[in-house]
């Protein structure tokens, strides 16, 4: 597969690992932002192959994991209504709310449908004019353009039976929150490559400057991730900070301005609560005020939501890179992918789920 197989070449990966080992002279803590990168690292066992001096910590780049419990409960309440066709990406279907999940709602008769593309929900709205179609718009900046185009289609064609429940989040604000925390240990970042294809690299420059850290836009295949790590380590060893793109085949400096324009048309930046991290100002996207008719949060008045987070969960510390999943007392016992207690176990991208699937029980 072109543009994929080359970046899985064991020979190149081995050479990069050797170069990293030859470059590093002291311990460094590097965070990969994106859940997809966490998944790739665990799946290929990259963390086992890196020199011990490098500690990889896993960031909050899992939009499923960071969706607040209240939002999930709100989604479940809407999905239960008989007039609603509730549509969602596959990722969200098993995520438990305070007491339920979308698949269980479906089993009890709720019309819950999985979609791969957000345009599918628009098609459903056109074909079912007597029903209300609601789309659960989750995602980072990678997914927002597609979600935005669907919403724009609804607006431009005057659909009256379509709305979105937005749980979209933005990366830079989360990175700033992590870096600004007094107990922060992260010294360099692998920035989320696919987020950068949309947003470009410019918005990371002030962050790199302000906090004096290297931020390296990085891809998702083993060779890409190792390239990103090598670049980050080189900069750390030299005491350099800044943004250096290591995913040039997909990331332009300016990203994709057409995508950002449509996002801007329908969404506005808002403060957003991140599950496990708390409220981060200007870290989310909401449907614009003037498009309230397409905002499911406003269209469907849902009250009586009292979300209940288990106390034992340390997802917040994991998302900030302060702890690793095996350090949680509930990891693998009370909290497993089968019955997740918190944000980082609910999705296969979450750090705890990835650890549990790929690396538990201390393989030598």
């Amino acid at each position: 597969m072109k543009y994929l197989t080359e970046y899985r070449d064991p020979r190149l990966a081995r050479a990069l690992l050797d170069e990293i080992a030859a470059t590093v002279t002291r311990p460094w803590t590097i965070m990969e932002i994106c859940g997809g990168q966490t998944h790739a690292i665990m799946r290929h066992g990259l963390d086992q192959l890196l020199p011990d001096a490098i500690t990889l910590v896993h960031g909050p780049g899992c939009p499923v994991c960071v969706t607040p419990l209240e939002t999930i409960d709100r989604a479940l309440a809407i999905a239960t209504r008989p007039e609603v066709i509730f549509t969602s990406y596959g990722d969200m279907l098993r995520v438990p709310g305070s007491a339920d999940d979308l698949l269980r709602v479906k089993s009890r008769g709720g019309d819950v449908r999985m979609v791969y593309s957000p345009l599918e929900a628009i098609r459903l709205a056109r074909e079912n004019s007597d029903r209300e179609v609601v789309f659960l718009a989750v995602g980072f900046e990678t997914t927002a353009p597609g979600n935005a185009m669907a919403l724009k289609q609804a607006v431009d064609t005057g659909l009256t039976n379509y709305s979105q429940l937005s749980s979209q989040v933005l990366v830079p604000a989360a990175m700033a929150a992590i870096l600004a925390a007094p107990d922060n240990r992260v010294q360099g970042f692998l920035a989320a490559g696919h987020v950068c294809t949309v947003m470009g690299i410019r918005e990371y420059l002030p962050l790199a400057e302000r906090f004096g850290v290297p931020i390296v836009p990085t891809g998702f295949e083993p060779v890409d991730i190792l390239r990103g790590i090598l670049q980050t380590v080189r900069m750390l060893e030299r005491g350099e900070h800044g943004v250096v793109n290591q995913y040039g085949r997909a990331v332009r400096d300016d990203g994709n301005s057409a995508a950002r324009a449509v996002m801007h048309d329908v969404y506005a930046v808002c403060d957003r609560k991140w599950r496990g991290l708390g409220m981060i100002p200007r870290s989310g996207l909401d449907v614009r005020e003037e498009l309230a008719a397409f905002d499911a949060g406003k269209k469907f008045r849902v009250t009586d939501i009292v979300p209940a987070e288990p106390e034992v969960c340390i997802a917040g510390q994991i998302l900030r890179g302060l702890k690793k999943p095996p350090e949680c007392p509930a990891f693998g016992t009370d909290c497993t992918p089968m019955h997740p207690l918190g944000a980082t176990m609910v999705s296969s991208e979450g750090a705890c789920a990835a650890y549990h699937s790929y690396a538990r029980k201390g393989l030598s």
Binding site: G35, L119, R249
Partner: protein, 86 residues
């Protein structure tokens, strides 16, 4: 997040006023919206996420990065070794 994979455009068409493409991934085919990569043509490779092409893949950048990687010292040493050994 962001499961996006590179695929080759094998056909373009329009649907509901949006430019769309049939994309090939090693023999499996999927449809994607080209609104964000309107200049992409049949034969180009695009990065597809949730039914949308987000960027065309830059062949020159890819080639340059692979050449750069091939210059990593341990690879060059290994190549030199095998050349002198044969």
């Amino acid at each position: 997040m962001c499961l996006a994979i590179p695929g080759k455009i094998i056909a373009r068409f329009e649907e509901s006023g949006l430019p769309m493409a049939e994309i090939d991934f090693a023999g499996a085919r999927n449809r994607a919206c080209l609104s964000y990569t309107p200049e992409a043509e049949v034969g180009d490779y695009v990065l597809v996420h949730a039914g949308f092409a987000l960027q065309t893949l830059n062949e020159d950048e890819a080639r340059a990065s692979l050449i750069e990687l091939s210059r990593l010292s341990s690879l060059m040493a290994a190549d030199a070794e095998s050349e002198s050994g044969s």
